[in-house]
Subunit: 402 residues, 2 copies
């Protein structure tokens, strides 16, 4: 199996069309994206665990259940989350699916829906309807780029990636696009991500592969520890490559392809986090169990004291020890180790403050690795990606909406 | 039972002396505090759950176990946490207790020790020793104020409070002092709190009363969700008032007195949180169980999106719904309610955006109440106090230590 990067995003695999148009939901810019598979596709998705999940999340979940995991299209608007909007919001999400299905000649259940933007504001049905009409008319393989722009809120840049996976059975492609933590007006940010492949795979196998590829990519990033009402991760597999995923080697190849694209998109979301200036890789080792490794890595990645120290270029290993110690994970101080950018700052219960200048030098870069060994003698580990916390984050999120 | 505020702090109850001196651990200012009971006192304490707990925490825990809950003095230094300092740190903490005991004529086990300041830096034994000598010479009932200043790191002001509790059996007093989240140089902040009373109570009953009084005061505040290596809460009861705590009514009076002082100190810590400009009371009701109420209240109180919105004066109820929804607590969107400063912004699944200006007006004040009903129909509730998140917080914590 060999994985090669490709140009393009969701339309890099065969048999996908996309469009991104402006219909006036946002004050300016593209705000409606349509992604269509030219043939019926297996479909899988992972949704927010938020108990205040938005109308499009409920609708998409129902549609996937109704079709047993098949879809033809995903329609997305930005600028309005259609969350906390009651029965009217449910009707708006349904209308988006219905109109898209009529235009494409498929069943409404074969259309998935996503929204991102302000919570608690009603979608304007006329604008959305005009947007869907325009998007259907503009569908093209070359428009993957426009779709990636149309799902953005205040993301600093569009996020798209694609790879080709070569297997003994042939080549297939995986593409993707995502939007991350940006605020609009501002309200809650939402992560939306879309993966496409022209491999041929059953809905059940696609679901498993998606969950596996997500585990150490989208599920291993954090910007501010929040989980939105609209977070959605979709995968479509239309079989256009003719490569069937039916053996163990092919399943692994599919997971590897999905993971490669998911990882690029996930890291892109962190790099483009609100006010972020650095990508931080938090690597926890020496954990007594996998869950402890994750708990400690998440605690470090979400710690305001760690994120502000990284922002300030301060190799403050004391905060790392303290956060690991309070994380709830088993922790043995006398055998714990902390390194920043490969520079050991605390080992065997003793600080090495003479090395602080070397670590401070590393912290000047745009990418930083923080390594914490919990000292339990266990062999479990976990990696989480995060960004630094800047005064700009506060500014973005404190500004009054009016 | 009647509770009346008194002037003063830890030395307001009878039979306590205190001192606060400067011995050069900090670059400037008082940095060593001594609190002494003139007679043997029952003692109880609650310590950090951090698995990287500092040397003084381990020592104080051992001393309380050795005496079965008795103490004569608490010696505290600021400017150095004596955390992550290995065997030398353990020796330094022991030396603090030993010297204090010799000077006061009691056993070392009757001395409790606390430290706060930079992690991973060794205490200078000569400075600490000189400080203890000076403090013993300066002990006076009038010096409670100096002690409250000597435990500060970069707290914006000292925190002290005292009350008198009148019961049918007579009057007793409760006093206290605390330091909160301030940074030094900067490193991890630490919460230290000291409660004194002249009530006469067994160590076991004092422990129970302290835990009960702490539950909805010190355990219900958060500045940045961190838990330091040195957090300690001490209580001394020396019986000087002659009021014995042996019946149910007296136990309740003791808890009420401890709680009254603890509450003032805890709120003072939040008000003086790093970069804080507002005290925020988060009140969660309608929870299915007590634990759910706490989980949701803590999630709201620690949410960066909520804390930045409050800082910016933005009545962003969408963030409150979203955080309650992702908190893990049972949550029913269609019956949930959100109010800011008594202004209902979301009820019965519907926003009331016309009321946003009234809520924004409330948010201009220095004290704000956020109320979230989880909509489960349950009757459980919890209150957590927090502060807003400002760019100043980032500045304080991002500044490089050199």
């Amino acid at each position: 199996m060999m994985i090669t990067d490709l140009p393009g995003g969701v339309t890099a695999p065969d048999g996908y069309l996309a469009a991104g148009v402006a219909c006036g939901i946002k004050a300016s810019g593209l705000d409606l994206a349509l992604l269509v598979s030219q043939r019926p596709a297996s479909a899988a998705a992972l949704f927010t665990t938020n108990r205040a999940a938005a109308a499009p999340v409920h609708l998409s979940r129902r549609h996937l259940a109704a079709t047993g995991g098949h879809a033809r299209a995903i329609v997305t608007n930005s600028g309005c989350a259609n969350a906390c909007t009651g029965a009217a919001g449910d009707a708006s999400a349904r209308a988006m699916a219905d109109q898209t299905a009529r235009a494409l000649g498929c069943r409404p259940e074969e259309v998935l829906v996503a929204s991102t933007g302000v919570i608690g504001v009603a979608l304007d049905p006329a604008k959305v309807s005009a947007g869907i009409s325009a998007a259907v008319g503009a569908l093209a393989r070359a428009h993957g780029d426009l779709a990636a722009r149309a799902i953005m809120t205040t993301d600093p840049w569009p996020k798209a990636h694609a790879v080709e996976v070569a297997t003994p059975q042939g080549r297939f492609r995986v593409g993707g696009m995502a939007k991350g933590s940006g605020m609009i007006e501002p309200s809650l940010a939402t992560m939306l991500a879309y993966l496409t492949t022209d491999a041929q795979v059953s809905p059940a196998a696609l679901r498993l592969a998606l969950a596996e590829a997500c585990d150490d990519t989208f599920n291993a990033i954090t910007v501010d520890g929040e989980c939105s009402t609209n977070d959605s991760l979709f995968a479509l597999a239309n079989g256009a490559s003719g490569v069937r995923i039916d053996g163990r080697a092919e399943r692994e190849a599919l997971v590897a392809g999905l993971r490669a694209v998911a990882r690029e998109l996930a890291l892109g979301i962190v790099r483009g986090g609100e006010g972020a200036t650095k990508l931080v890789t938090v690597r926890v080792t020496g954990a007594a169990c996998r869950e402890d490794a994750r708990i400690a890595a998440r605690a470090v990645a979400n710690s305001l004291l760690v994120k502000t120290a990284v922002h300030g270029g301060d190799p403050n290993w004391g905060r790392l020890v303290a956060v690991a110690g309070r994380s709830g994970a088993a922790f043995e101080l006398s055998r714990a180790r902390v390194a920043i950018g490969g520079v050991d700052l605390f080992t065997g219960g003793q600080p090495h403050d003479d090395r602080a200048p070397a670590a401070a030098e590393v912290l000047r870069g745009a990418e930083v690795t923080i390594a914490v060994n919990l000292g339990t003698g266990g062999s479990h580990e976990a990696t989480v990606w995060t960004c630094d916390l800047s005064a700009e984050y506060v500014r973005i999120n404190a500004e009054y909406r009016t």
